[in-house]
Symmetry: C2
Subunit: 325 residues, 2 copies
């Protein structure tokens, strides 16, 4: 099975590649080759028993996506995107990468003509307030950012290309990934991770919103699990509606902090500095808080069991099992 | 007030131009100039007190949309589209006109920089079965045609461009227009009009589905009324969610025929020849049957009062008030 990860240098792409290297398989089928494509060079995962090709380029550029299809990958993960904050600041760049890039990739798959599985990471940013306290599987997409708009368009394209038999697509709406490792990116949601990640290594973190802000989370490990499931589930089992809101954990910031206290103690919690930021509060107030993701749950997509588990995943996967506070 | 109609040679565009000529105004403001743009030359409406410019071209072609923005129209109606049947048969053409063309127009408005009102005609084809018996204003878009996909994408783009202040957009989802005058086009929904229009002039019409098929209709006159209302309603009154499902009349084919009987007698009804067509029945089975369009109704968009009224509008507007059977 040949696998292509578009956006292979990003955090989720890297973790997915590591998982493939560890399993040496995807859904029971041995992986025969892996291509990691991104705008910057990705890192090949350790211990892969299959060849890993690192490729860089500008996805929306003419002919670029066709190169990625030359070896007719069986499974294509399309994770590449300009993140929300940046797509909001740079309108042209966001549309160029998130819409044109996606369309170029889908059209290249069409030209390749072999009908692979395509997994596209969408986002809960396709929803914008007002919405119900828990957003159901049939609620309409009302994005309040260009990023969310571009993701919603990607979902529509994926469904249509799937319906036409061009490829066999699955779009998954990821919860906010928490705890996001490494340095903050330009996403406005950064603080949800910062207030856990930084204190766990003895560093201060800024909390710009109040403790009653509720949000929807999944660990990077769960996100990779969603991708693997999306790559291997049968199309018939999903049916015609190819976009699935992934399950997650709905917690308030206060509950996040309580979980941190349980896992890492009061010392860690004391490193959270409250610095209210009205601009971030306004942005966050338009974000979803909770979902009824029963469709995906029924199809075997499984989230973390609790926010404490989300913290423990971070400690296991990023800190070698040790808290540094 | 300068008005641009993109798709001015189509049936709805023509009727809108006639209405503007008759009113010499749009929402109380005098019309100072009208441009009718299409791929084929539109016909200037009779009796216009303002200059009418007829312009033709290929909307998605580079630089084409910018020409339309040169005189900075105050109101832009974007009605141009490849219809459902044709967009389904010619994938590239549908995406090129319905998606690329829309985007080129929206980007040209952005470059013009004057922030006009943009009215975009979307369609109930953004919905695909299964759906509730009456589709509400918050139901998700699940198109089962490329045309419906392209319209749903247009709605998303319009909302985002509006949110960014590029223009002040309103998208309206038109019911199936009935009775559609003139010759059948490539739309699969043609029979809904054929079984009324043809008998009214003593011609036979083919009914390819059973009488219990229920669908959602508005007269051309109501459609023009929706466009005028959409052009003149204040953006604040609509709020952030700029797509509105228009009100209509939900009737079965049997109820359509009963209305025809009332208006034109048994002689007309006898001209309907029942020739079941499984392909059309399959297509139609995935179409919406009824809507709860209370949001648009609350905002002053008004549909026909009954299907009999829809027939009477056709007799008034197309047959000079006389039934020919």
């Amino acid at each position: 099975m040949k696998v292509l990860i578009v956006g292979g240098a990003g955090m989720v792409g890297r973790k997915l590649a590591e998982r493939l290297a560890r399993d040496n398989a995807l859904g029971g089928s041995p992986v025969s080759a892996l291509t990691l494509y991104d705008v910057v060079p990705a890192t090949a995962p350790d211990g892969a028993a299959f060849p890993v090709r690192i490729s860089t380029g500008d996805l929306p550029a003419e002919g670029e996506a066709d190169k990625l299809l030359a070896d007719k990958p069986d499974v294509i993960f399309h994770l590449a995107a300009i993140v929300s904050g940046e797509a909001e600041l740079d309108f042209d760049k966001g549309y160029r990468i998130n819409l044109d890039g996606t369309r170029q990739l889908f059209d290249a798959v069409r030209r390749a003509g072999h009908g692979p599985r395509v997994v596209f990471t969408s986002s809960i940013a396709v929803f914008g307030s007002p919405f119900p306290e828990a957003i159901g599987d049939e609620f309409f997409t009302t994005p309040l950012t260009s990023y969310g708009t571009q993701k919603a368009i990607g979902e529509l394209l994926l469904s249509d290309y799937t319906r036409k038999g061009i490829f066999d697509g699955v779009a998954i709406r990821l919860p906010t990934i928490c705890v996001r490792p490494g340095k903050p990116n330009k996403a406005a949601s950064g603080f949800f991770s910062n207030i856990i990640r930084e204190p766990l290594v003895g560093m201060e973190a800024v909390l710009p919103v109040s403790e009653d802000v509720r949000h929807w989370h999944a660990s990077p490990r769960s996100a990779v699990g969603f991708l693997v499931r999306a790559a291997t589930i049968s199309g018939d089992e999903i049916g015609r509606r190819r976009t699935l809101t992934m399950p997650g954990i709905s917690v308030t910031v206060g509950e996040q902090i309580a979980a941190l206290r349980k896992v890492a103690g009061e010392k860690a919690v004391k490193l959270i500095r409250r610095t209210p930021d009205q601009m971030i509060m306004d942005v966050v107030s338009g974000w979803p808080r909770n979902f009824d993701a029963s469709r995906a749950s029924g199809l075997g997509f499984t989230a973390d069991a609790s926010f404490e588990d989300i913290i423990k995943v971070h400690i296991d996967d990023e800190l070698g099992g040790k808290i540094g506070v």
